[in-house]
């Protein structure tokens, strides 16, 4: 027994590196299957000339390793009926035959086109041809690495076998070159399951910086690793990878994302505080800052209000008990809440609507919509009125809204506002047609009647007469208008 061989056996027996296999179950059957596979794989080797040519041209470098090319020979010569251990020995013996085979080719012949070597006719020729093309003269490798199994497959076959869910060891892909060829084959095979499997192996057997560097030019594989790390929750490695790639924004977002998993509000608030300094885009930084501030406010408001509610002193909380806590709610919901429970508070308090509006720079439109909905819900019509009333410099009051009055009407109506309130706002709708529609829909008779009168539309007005209650004030009004001889009807 040569020293090299002893070393090798010792390596395999003592190594803590267990062979990387995905499926070891079918020991007995595997032998039979193995031989079938060997036969099947021949077809690939014989047929797939183009693919092999591609491998050479892939980077201009010779691809594959010595053990790989030996395997090609071995798989045809070694009996597959042997167990793995004995095949190791037998395979080893074929190693001695290797240099002879290789030496028959000059380096330059490696790059010759296939048809320039007319002697490649037989099956074995074709095999060695394949081997040669992928042969990399890595002379500095220790001998102990020149091993093979009957189950040694080319990267392509390995990928193919894994795709079929068959037993396959990746452990012998030890050189970086081998690993990368394997990865590229996996990517070329289009099966994400296999790409991830190879990446798991690479991740285990390569320093992360080396892995990252190689993935940078392999976008598909990179996506798979990122997704894998997300799914397995290996946040630290994920962040390292993203940092390596200079994807700073993703680093920030990925860290920020973790807040979703924090239930405790105090902890969440602390966590968010830590997020503010992360390298978000300028725009997102302010969003995260707002997120923190909002939660901080909510915690204060929640504590106060819970106290108020349990004390039973405050009328509004007694009358409208809170249905849910305000914690972790969106800003607009918080604003609604504060317009509902804390509308009249001075700007100095954290829970006052004006304070919220200022702190978060809530646009007028948004503010008015929300306040309107909250005050209408409480049927505080005076507040609603005040919301839209402005005084001009002469002291005249005027109704103005940053949203269309038809929206105002709709919100009021949804909150069952009385007709008197409703029709005031219906009158403010600018577009006459919309106004008439809304007025009819919500039975604001006065508005309808006045509009028809202004439009001088006698027919419509007469028709509307049967829609109002008999003997009502509205009917009387219609009658008096219809009888008014001063109006010049258009019809």
């Amino acid at each position: 027994m040569s020293r090299a061989r002893a070393d090798e056996e010792e390596y395999w027996h003592s190594s803590k590196f267990r062979a990387f296999t995905f499926d070891d179950e079918d020991d007995e059957l595997s032998q039979l299957k193995e031989s079938k596979r060997a036969v099947n794989s021949l077809r690939d080797i014989v047929d797939d000339d183009d693919d092999d040519l591609e491998k050479v041209s892939w980077s201009g470098d010779p691809v594959g390793s010595i053990s790989w090319s030996i395997k090609e020979t071995a798989s045809s010569s070694t009996s597959s009926l042997e167990s793995r251990d004995s095949s190791l020995q037998k395979g080893y013996s074929s190693y001695s035959a290797f240099p002879k085979q290789a030496s028959s080719y000059s380096l330059s012949s490696l790059f010759k086109g296939r048809n320039k070597l007319p002697s490649f006719q037989s099956l074995s020729d074709a095999l060695s041809d394949t081997g040669v093309k992928n042969y990399a003269p890595e002379l500095r490798r220790p001998k102990a690495e020149y091993k093979d199994y009957s189950s040694d497959w080319s990267p392509k076959d390995t990928v193919r076998r894994m795709q079929r869910g068959k037993v396959c060891s990746l452990e012998r892909f030890r050189s970086l070159q081998d690993k990368l060829v394997l990865l590229d084959e996996a990517v070329a095979g289009h099966d994400g399951n296999i790409i991830t499997a190879v990446l798991i192996f690479l991740k285990r057997t390569l320093r992360k910086e080396i892995l990252f560097q190689e993935l940078e030019v392999r976008q598909v594989a990179l996506c798979h690793l990122i997704h894998f790390l997300k799914e397995t929750g290996e946040q630290k490695l994920l962040l390292d990878l993203l940092r390596f790639l200079d994807r700073t924004e993703e680093v920030a977002l990925s860290q920020y994302r973790e807040h979703l998993n924090i239930q405790d509000v105090e902890k969440r608030r602390e966590f968010l505080k830590g997020c503010i300094g992360l390298p978000f885009s300028a725009e997102d930084t302010s969003h995260v800052q707002d997120h923190y501030t909002l939660l901080e406010r909510q915690i204060i408001i929640e504590a106060n209000d819970r106290h108020l509610e349990t004390a039973g002193q405050s009328e509004i909380f007694r009358k409208y008990p809170r249905k849910a806590s305000i914690l972790n709610m969106p800003l607009v919901t918080t604003l609604f809440y504060s317009c509902f429970y804390h509308y009249t508070e001075a700007e100095g308090t954290f829970s006052s609507p004006t304070n919220l509006k200022k702190t978060f720079k809530i646009p007028d439109k948004q503010y008015v919509l929300t306040a309107l909905a909250a005050r209408a819900k409480l049927r505080a019509w005076n507040d609603v009125d005040a919301l839209f009333t402005t005084k001009n410099w002469l002291g005249y009051t005027k109704k103005k809204a940053p949203i269309g009055f038809h929206r105002v009407v709709e919100i009021l109506q949804r909150n069952n506002a009385p007709v008197q309130v409703l029709q005031e706002y219906v009158r403010l709708v600018e577009d006459v047609e919309t106004q008439l529609n809304l007025a009819t829909k919500y039975k604001c008779h006065d508005v309808v009647i006045d509009t028809y009168r202004d439009l001088k539309d006698r027919i419509q007005l007469a028709a509307y007469r049967c829609k109002v209650e008999r003997g009502s004030a509205e009917e009387e009004k219609i009658d008096s208008i219809l009888n008014n001889t001063q109006i010049r009807w258009k019809n």
Partner: protein
Amino acid sequence: MAFAGRRDAPEPPDFAILKRLARDQLIYLLEQLPGRKDLFIEADLMSPLDRIANVSILKHEVDKLYKVENRPTSSTSDQFCFLVRPRIKTMKYIADIINADKMAGRSRKYKIIFSPQKFYACEMVLEEEGVFGDVSCDEWSFYLLPLDDDIISMELPEFFRDYFLEGDHRWINCVARALQLLNSLYGPFSKAYGIGRCAKMSYELWRDLEEESESDSQGRKPEIGNVFLMDRDTDYVTALCSQVVYEGLVDDTFRIKCGSVDFGPDVTSSDKSIKVLLNSQDKVFSQIRNEHFSSVFGFLSQKSRNLQAQYDRRRGMDIKQMKNFVSQELKGLKQEHRLLSLHIGACESIMKKKTKQDFQEMIKTEHSLLEGFDIRESTSFIEEHIDRQVSPIESLRLMCLLSITENGLIPKDYRSLKTQYLQSYGPEHLLTFHNLKRIGLLTEQSPGETLTAVESKVSKLVTDRAAGKITDAFNSLARKSNFRGISKKLGLIPRVDGEYDLKMPRDMAYVFSGAYIPLSCKIIEQVLERKSWLGLEEVLRLLNGNEFSVTESAGEDSPAWESQRIILTVFLGGCTFSEIAALRFLGKEKGYKFIFLTTAITNSARMMEAMIETKA
């Protein structure tokens, strides 16, 4: 909708065998763990399982059924079987159970059945958790669930996010295997068309599988002649539109799950919900599913009147006639009555919900976006929608539609809409916006540099692999939608001369009220007409290419074969009921029969939800 002189579409093949195959394999797998056992089923697999097996079949093999959920089990059985999707989270759940048993010194047998296949990453988790040798693993190759005569679903909604957002190719193998199975049962397919990167990869992997398998299908008379593969990202616009054909509306409103729907009390007008199977077996549904919603009312009321008339016939019957009536007709009438009242109830409920939501205004906005008019007005509509805190999903959908049709939002709008969105629906949607940007559904127009200049720079980067860094910019640019250009080239917006008669549709645009012909369906129509991509070069350039068309078996193009008119359309990333309705319409017009194979039935809400981050 009858037109003279057109060929009748051939009948679809019978897909019942797919169910039988799946059922038999499952039972076989369960038998591999002999004796009494408890079965834990993943929630996502329950509905599909329901469609192929019932509890009584499982009961032969199984004691108790549990749902896989994050709770410790109280089961006392000494054999556990887990029927799961290959997910890391689920593996951890199973490992926890096993490890807890180990701690308690309890010994049980465990088996995991992965559907449709196991992933190496799952086995890795089992290994890491120290339970690898303690469980046996099997695969249940349940790739294909026939939902109807012409719809087969892979029931993989996660396909969309995994592939299009994360760039993970893990499901491509399943698609290839599904194609292999269909090809072996109903092929050989003689012609294959496709568009999209995933379509291409799926096709190539499938061909690989075919070359390896020994089955010789030559000379067999195929039932399906053509296959057409399409990536969802070829056409996001169609999937983002509000659906207005009945089946689509039912899906948007109530969520059709695995071909059945839960009608709640508001539909059944009783205090309980009813689960209804929606397919061609339902005599009422099958007649209205593809109709524009506006024609459905008329149909239902006509149907009700007929039913009434049939019931009324029993007046004036003598005893014998009455006996006949009761024994022969009454059951059918009652059944029809039940179905009618359900669908009328559903219509009412839809109407109620839609009027509440300003549906009319929303549709108007969508149509303007599709046509490219009044963009400012549409933008403010969306803004107001957000401010009023109306459905967060709808708001996202409208923003995406705006972005895709306009090739991205102008930066000012993007910023303002995003801010308001976060204020209305929660700041954590920062993550949603990031995802939408990555997938290309909601992007910001890059200021300054013209796109073509950037494009050429980027493509130089790509060809020069040594240069290395392919930036994110490339990714989003690659998905530039070019919708306006495509729409113009393909004439997706029908010219209106007078009112579009939705009851007598003249083209596929009827599925969107006559305003828009679904892009995905238009592409299929064009390619089938030309039997190639020739003449569509300009469109392909705008669609970012990746098209292919391959004749599998030459010389078998004999038009006499009905199979040549049967087209298996494969939607990678999901297809909507509107698209199904449109292609069914096209099939009737042109004498094709489309079979739909989709990774899942989708709609705008499902797509948007897939973009939202949830806690782990």
